[in-house]
C-alpha cells in the first residue's frame, strides 16, 4: 500500500492538474463565444458567394479561354488535399477527426491510382500527415504567428494555391476542416476547392434566363474566382477556430471532472490508510501497556 506521504503528494498533484484544466476550460469557453460569433457571422457570405459561383459556373459558356479555376485542367489525376487543423492540442479528437477524414479520402484516391499530395495548414496536421504519408507534403503553411483566423492568412494561402494551380502542379484541390455545429459537435468536412464545383442541376442551365455581365463575364470571373477560393479558406479557418475552442472546452471539462473523481478516490484511500496506521499504533501502545 502506498505510504501516506506518497498519497498526499499524489492528491496535491492531481489538484494542481485540475486547476489547470479548469482554467483552460474557462479560457476556451470565453474564446469560444467570440470565435463562434465570428464563424456564424462569416457563414452567409461564404454561402452566398458559393451559390453565386455555382450558378455563374453553370451559366457561363465554357470555351478555351475560360479561366482554368472554373473549368479545371481537364484531368483528374493529381489531387491536392488541403488539411486545415489547429495550432494547438488538448482539444479531444478535434484534429484527429480532421486528419482521419483526409486520410480516408487520400487512401481512396491512392487506391484509384491517383497521385495525392498534401498542403498543410496548422501545426497539428503536420505530424500526423508526415507519419502516414511521408514525403507527400507539398507545402506546410505556418500559422503559429496567427492568434485568430485572419483574412490575410486565408488570402495568402489562396494566392499560393492559385499560383501552384496556374503552374500546373495539381488538377483538383480538396479542403478539409471541421464544421462547427455546436460546442459539443464538430463535423469533419470535405469541400472541393478547385475547380469550382458545379451547381446541382447544372444540366438544364441552358434554359435559365440570360444573365447580363458588367463589365464582362471574363473580368467578373477573373475577379471572383480567386476571391471565392480565399473566402472558402477563410470560412474554414473561422469554423475550425470555433470548433477547436468548443472541442477544447469539452475535453477540458471532462478532464476536470475526471480529476475530481480521482481526488475523491485518492482521498478515501488516504483516510483509510491513515486510520489503519492509527489503529496499528493504538494496538501497539495497548499491548505495550499490558506487557508491563
Amino acid at each position: 500500500m502506498a505510504s501516506l506521504k506518497a498519497l498526499k503528494l499524489r492528491i496535491g498533484s492531481v489538484k494542481s492538474t485540475q486547476k489547470i484544466t479548469k482554467a483552460m476550460k474557462t479560457v476556451a469557453a470565453a474564446k469560444l463565444r467570440r470565435a463562434q460569433d465570428a464563424a456564424l457571422a462569416g457563414r452567409p457570405y461564404a454561402e452566398r458567394l458559393e451559390a453565386v459561383m455555382a450558378s455563374l459556373a453553370s451559366k457561363v459558356v465554357i470555351s478555351a479561354s475560360s479561366p482554368k479555376l472554373l473549368t479545371g485542367t481537364g484531368k483528374d489525376d493529381r489531387h491536392l488535399l488541403v488539411v486545415v487543423t489547429s495550432e494547438r492540442g488538448l482539444a479531444g479528437g478535434f484534429n484527429t477527426n480532421i486528419v482521419r477524414a483526409a486520410r480516408r479520402r487520400a487512401d481512396e484516391l491512392i487506391a484509384a491510382g491517383k497521385s495525392v499530395r498534401f498542403y498543410i495548414v496548422g501545426r497539428k496536421a503536420r505530424a500526423a500527415i508526415n507519419r502516414y504519408y511521408p514525403k507527400l507534403t507539398l507545402h506546410d503553411h505556418d500559422m503559429s504567428q496567427a492568434k485568430t483566423a485572419r483574412f490575410e492568412d486565408a488570402h495568402a494561402i489562396a494566392q499560393d494555391l492559385i499560383a501552384r494551380y496556374e503552374d500546373d502542379r495539381f488538377d483538383v484541390a480538396h479542403l478539409f476542416f471541421s464544421r462547427f455545429q455546436s460546442a459539443l459537435v464538430q463535423e469533419p468536412t470535405e469541400k472541393q476547392l478547385i475547380p469550382v464545383p458545379l451547381a446541382k442541376g447544372a444540366a438544364q442551365a441552358g434554359s435559365a434566363a440570360a444573365v447580363d455581365y458588367e463589365p464582362d463575364e471574363e473580368a467578373i470571373l477573373a475577379d471572383l474566382l480567386p476571391k471565392n477560393v480565399a473566402i472558402q479558406i477563410y470560412g474554414a479557418l473561422l469554423e475550425n477556430q470555433a470548433g477547436f475552442y468548443g472541442s477544447q472546452m469539452t475535453a477540458m471539462d471532462n478532464a476536470t471532472r475526471n480529476a475530481g473523481d480521482m481526488i475523491n478516490r485518492l482521498t478515501i484511500q488516504y483516510n483509510r490508510t491513515r486510520q489503519a496506521a492509527i489503529t496499528t499504533e493504538l494496538v501497539e501502545i495497548i499491548s505495550g501497556a499490558e506487557a508491563l
Binding site: R48, V52, S55, F151, A208, A210, V211, D212, E214, L224
Partner: protein, 84 residues
Amino acid sequence: MPLHFELVTPEKLVRSEGVYMVTVPGTEGDFGVLEGHSPLVSTLRDGDLLVFVTQAAQPATIRVQGGFAEVNERGLTVLAERAE
C-alpha cells in the same frame, strides 16, 4: 411585391429585407434594381449604396467597398468586402 435585398460582408450579414428599390454603384455606372429586374452580375466600385425602403421614403446610404452584386429571380444580393 418588394425586392428582396441582401447585403453581406465576410464578417456578417448586414441587411436582409424586402425593399422597394436599391441603387448600386457598379463598375460601369450606377444602376437601380427594382423587383423583377433581369438577371445581372456586376462588380462594384467603392461608392454609396442607396436603399429605398418604400417608394416615397428617403434613401438610406450604405458605403460599400469592393465586391459584386448579383440579381437573380430571388432578388438582389450585394457581396461587399466592406460596408458601413
